[in-house]
Amino acid sequence: MRGTRHGVLITNGPEGTIEEDAPACAHCGHIMSVKPFCDPAAFPNGRCKICNGLICDNPTCHERCDPMEKKLERWERDAKLLESMQSG
């Protein structure tokens, strides 16, 4: 995963420094931890076949493709609708 476009998690502790890849789920944003020398895309359900993003183990992220960008648009639309209903 080194050299790719995903996040990284660096832990400094009593046992030294551990660095691991930590991509965020393309559907829910959950940060995943990936063991060294493992490719998260090789895991079962590791990559969404529709949006091609890496996805986490959460079953709801596997049921359908619901990318974060679509979620943000939906949340913003819902908030505007609620606001307009409250203002009459």
Binding site: R5, H6, G7, I10, G13, A24, I31, K80
Partner: protein, 160 residues
């Protein structure tokens, strides 16, 4: 995109964490505000204990979740990485004394670390964590520990 930095040493008084995600568990919160709604993206965050370690070896549980309503905290002015950037439109609050409303089951990551450990997450270009441009929506950074009862430090970098 302008990048901004905030941490819970910028303003207010650091609060001791407790055994639950309670009133003083939230160290930093960043959220959109009604006056200037805009989306934000989390670029990086680092965290660790900010007090003397407890004599008993113990863990601290750190958590990043989504929030939907403000709590009671000290406002902090996010610092622009680039001094040419305009003032930050996202609100930042630190050292909460009453926790904001956190969306149930919205944890983006929970880390259990030894009290002597620190951790840092840096987003890649493809996986910056976004929050919507709706009032009081954003992210909270909080911690708990069964034994360690001193402050923690969260340093957060985001862009808008």
């Amino acid at each position: 995109m302008a990048k901004y930095e905030v941490n819970n040493r910028l303003a207010g008084t650091q609060q001791n964490i407790s055994t639950t995600f309670g009133a003083t568990s939230v160290a930093v919160g960043i959220n959109a505000t009604t006056a200037a709604l805009c989306r934000g993206r989390l670029v990086e965050f680092a965290f660790g204990a900010d007090g003397a370690p407890n004599a008993s070896d113990t863990q601290i549980v750190y958590d990043v979740s989504r929030m939907t309503a403000a709590g009671t905290a000290t406002a902090a002015t996010p610092l622009a990485q680039d001094t040419l950037s305009s003032a930050c439109q996202t609100s930042a609050f630190v050292n909460y004394t009453a926790a904001p409303t956190v969306t149930a089951a919205s944890s983006l990551k929970t880390f259990a670390l030894n009290q002597r450990a620190t951790q840092r997450w840096v987003a890649g270009p493809d996986d910056k964590l976004s929050w919507p441009a709706t009032a009081a929506s954003g992210l909270v950074f909080r911690a708990l520990s069964p034994v360690y009862a001193a402050p923690v430090l969260f340093h957060v970098t985001f862009e808008e």
